[in-house]
């Protein structure tokens, strides 16, 4: 079997390694596909659905779809942009995301995606659910208000930290993150560091990076990926 395959992204031929996802292959070639739950070093959960693309006409999450030879992938279209926007809007309406008083603001991937996608208002009714802040752990806050159920921390705890300190419980709108016991989670765990939003934060670290100097303060999310490709200009 050949090590490499050739596929097309928005009409442009790229090469990718067997075993890569569409998302990884695109990024390596300087094409940014917005995403929230996928993280390079973790197994993709496919939970958020932001990274939807069309592959040979069929809709698919690019983070869980492996590359294969000859695929025609559509990343940029009004329709796909609309899907991504709507999903990000859903996440804002579903949880309690108060950016003005969140320590993650400026470093938050959800917020950064909303900036990038040009979301200035949310079409869905804000739910304002009643959720808890779990401050029991000596070093870690778990703020369920901000959790988007992406599964990064659960995945990291299970497969990177080899602890399964975190799991999801409940189903549907009652699905939420649960911790087995504070002893299982350590401040150095990967599970603690991978949260895209402000749901898992280390204590005593607030505002160590001042506003104005944060990850997405000056460049949109994805700009880093796109800088690998001189043909793409970050919007």
């Amino acid at each position: 079997m050949p090590e490499e395959v050739t596929l097309t992204i928005d009409g442009k031929k790229i090469t990718a390694k067997i075993g890569q996802s569409i998302l990884e292959a695109a990024e390596e070639n300087g094409v940014y596909i917005p995403h929230l739950c996928a993280l390079q070093e973790l197994h993709s959960t496919g939970a958020c659905r932001v990274c939807m693309v069309r592959i040979d006409g069929r809709y698919s999450a690019s983070c869980t779809q492996p590359v294969s030879d000859g695929l025609q992938v559509e990343v940029e279209s009004d329709e796909l942009l609309e899907i991504r926007k709507m999903i990000v809007e859903m996440l804002f309406a579903e949880g309690n995301h108060f950016c003005p008083c969140c320590e993650k603001s400026g470093n938050c991937e959800l917020q950064a995606l909303a900036y990038r996608l040009g979301i200035d208002s949310v079409r869905f009714p804000y739910q304002f659910p009643q959720r808890e802040v779990d401050a029991e752990h000596p070093d870690v806050f778990i703020d369920h208000n901000r959790c988007i159920l992406c599964g990064r921390c659960v995945e990291a705890s299970r497969n990177a930290d080899h602890k399964t300190a975190l799991e999801f419980i409940g189903r549907g709108k009652n699905k939420r993150l649960a911790v087995t016991g504070i002893v299982d989670l350590d401040r150095a765990d990967k599970a603690v560091s991978v949260c895209p939003v402000g749901a898992i934060l280390l204590k005593r670290q607030a505002f160590q990076v001042p506003l104005g100097q944060r990850r997405f303060d000056h460049e949109p999310i994805g700009a880093e990926v796109e800088s690998r490709n001189p043909e793409v200009r970050t919007p």
Binding site: S44, T45, G46, A47, C48, R49, V50, M52, Y59, A61, T64, Q65, P66, E82, I83, M86, I87, M90, L91, A93, E94, R123, F124, P125, Q127, I148, L149, T164, A165, L166, E167, F168, I169, G170, R171, G172, K173, N174, K175, A178, V179, T180, G181, D184
Partner: protein, 601 residues
């Protein structure tokens, strides 16, 4: 004395993948799976308590809190509501002195709602303990409760047993089959065991060829070509392979698998054995929905008979090396487990979360083994195809949809029940057969299917026209379709696993918007929003549940646009009275802006 929970874990060899069976037994024994019990189970299985909790909290029939020694689960499916489920609920509330969703002070009774339990043709129905009680009337409730109070045993409910195997000593249920029309494939007698002998004599490739040529497609709704699915699994490398029968019939309004399992269980088992021969599987699982627990002992006895006859177990039909056995895996109340990868997760003792595809089950399924999952009816078809031949099967139905289809018909008709029709039958013929002469709308395929209005009654049951897993619900002209849509959306909200964003939140939003439209507080822009949201859910959801759960709205917007447009003809703006209800109660007076608002409303 050893801890009974430890004994249960020992019985399952402390196998983490049998967690579903373990927690089900604990639930049955203790009426709950308490956090303490979860800790013991975790210790015994060598996993974290949170993993046990993760599974327990996923399934409706498992609970960390007590649900009552005798849980009474009233079915709140649309058809049951049409048949008076609300009045029955009120009667139970009165008799037990507790509201729905609670447990009596003595812990004896729990009163709960549950989605469709597969008894739509004999609604309103309930599960009392594990026993289905059908055609409930409010006036019967006092006596029922009295008997339960005295006996503390649902089996003490005096009842006439139903027809056929419902009267079998291992079933003894009041359920009726209501078989209204038998066809040549599924609902007619078959020579027991013969298909297994033939399969044993055939080369596996020959079986694959026969099933492929027959044009059989999955009967569970997705309509995937069965022969292709089996071929993928046959070709996939793996020392062990698995055949799973999906008897998690959960689509509201569907009950034909219940009838097949009651009357034609052997045909289902033989279909699984044939599949095992075809793909080289050694293990079979019959995944039976929790609601059909009352059929479990009977089905175990059917399997036992096949073992006794040398048709299940080792050297099946005398063929050395043809080893295959079947176990029953009980579900525990989760519609999403009808999705094949969610069902596999459940079989492994996990939450019923669907999985990412690829890898497909045929490559990597149950315990990472190549696995096929087929519907109950599909296995019946396979048995009949081995007996009758692919050509004969193809002579039934249409070119694109060979064979017959079982329909579960309920709602506003004279003759609800199970009908076996050849594919290609128009809805109008179905309506004549079920004696429904005032149909406003037909829901074909259940809420994940589509609503069809009168002008579409000439359409046919076929994969290239109206594909369906078999539910047909009839709504006459007295029914408020928007209310029905709202109730089906409640169902999807309840049953979404919550894994992916569009399904977890999209269903909630649709429910809220439909509710405000129905109550007269819709906004003109709501209709576009519903359409766009429905499309996003269809395209972006991770599994079939979310990809189809907007269908009640999308198909009624298409077929009955007036029920939406009439609701926004005169927009009323913001519902200030509702928005100030709490403050009004505290202050003792309504908003002084209310009257003025009312004036130009």
């Amino acid at each position: 004395m050893s801890d009974p929970i430890v004994t249960i874990c020992e019985h399952y060899h402390r196998d983490r993948s049998r967690l579903m069976d373990i927690v089900r037994e604990v639930q049955a024994r203790q009426g709950q799976v308490s956090p303490e019990a979860e800790a013991v189970i975790a210790r015994e299985l060598g996993c974290k308590p949170v993993e046990v909790q993760s599974t327990v909290s996923f399934y409706a029939f498992l609970s960390e809190r007590p649900v009552g020694h005798i849980p009474i689960r009233l079915c709140n499916d649309v058809v049951d509501r049409m048949a008076g489920a609300a009045e029955v609920a009120r009667a139970f509330e009165r008799e037990l002195g507790i509201p729905m969703g609670s447990v009596t002070g003595d812990g004896l009774f729990g009163l709960h709602w549950t989605p469709c339990i597969g008894m739509s043709d004999q609604a309103p129905a309930a599960l009392i303990g594990d026993l289905p009680v059908t055609r409930l009337r409010p006036e019967d409730v006092p006596e029922l409760v009295e008997i339960l109070r005295l006996s503390k045993d649902p089996h003490a409910i005096p009842r006439e047993v139903g027809d056929g195997n419902n009267a079998h000593p291992l079933v003894r249920s009041m359920v009726h089959n209501n078989i209204r029309r038998s066809g040549p494939v599924c609902l007619s007698p078959w020579p027991r065991g013969e298909a297994v002998h033939r399969a044993a004599a055939m080369d596996p490739r020959e079986i694959l060829e026969t099933i492929g040529t027959s044009g059989l497609r999955g009967r569970g709704g997705a309509a995937f070509p069965t022969g292709m699915k089996w071929r993928f699994a046959a070709q996939a490398p793996g020392a062990r392979k698995t055949v799973i029968c999906n008897a998690d019939e959960g689509e509201p309004g569907t009950f034909k698998d219940r009838v097949l399992l009651t009357e034609q269980a052997g045909m289902v088992v033989e279909g699984m054995i044939i599949a095992a021969r075809a793909i080289g599987a050694d293990e079979g699982i019959l995944y039976l929905r929790g609601e059909y627990e009352y059929l479990r002992a009977f089905l175990e006895s059917v399997l036992q008979e096949y073992r006794a006859d040398g048709l299940l177990g080792s050297s099946i039909a005398g063929l050395g090396g043809f080893d295959f056995d079947i176990r029953i895996q009980m579900g525990a109340g989760a519609y999403v487990c009808g999705e094949e990868t969610a069902l596999i997760s459940s079989c492994e003792g996990r939450r019923g979360d669907p999985r990412n595809k690829p890898p497909f089950p045929a490559q990597k399924g149950y315990l990472d083994r190549p696995t096929i999952v087929n519907n109950v009816e599909t296995f019946c078809c396979a048995t009949r195809i081995v007996l009758g031949g692919a050509e004969w099967f193809r002579s039934l139905g249409t070119e694109s949809s060979p064979g017959t289809k079982l329909l579960s018909v309920s709602g506003d008709c004279e003759r609800p029940g199970v009908y076996e029709f050849e594919f290609g039958t128009p809805l109008s013929s179905v309506l004549r057969a079920v004696q429904a002469d005032d149909a406003q709308a037909l829901l074909v395929g259940g809420p994940s299917g589509q609503f069809v209005q009168e002008a579409g009654f000439g359409r046919t049951i076929a994969f290239d026209d109206l594909g369906t897993a078999g539910a047909v619900v009839v709504f006459d002209h007295s029914r408020d379709l928007l209310e029905i849509v709202e109730q089906y959306m409640e169902f999807f909200c309840e049953e979404s696993c919550g894994y992916c964003t569009p399904c977890r939140f999209g269903n909630e939003v649709i429910l809220q918007i439909v509710h405000r439209l129905r109550t007269g507080w819709g906004k003109p822009e709501d209709l576009d929003l519903l359409r766009e949201l429905g499309q996003v859910m269809r395209k972006a959801s991770r599994c079939g549940l979310g990809q189809t759960s907007a269908n009640p709205v999308l198909s009624t917007m298409d077929q009955f646009p007036h029920i939406y447009e009439s609701q926004i003809a005169r927009p009323r703006g913001f519902d200030l009275a509702a928005a100030t209800s709490q403050a009004e109660a505290l202050a003792g007076h309504p908003s002084r802006h209310l009257e003025k608002e009312g004036d130009h409303a």
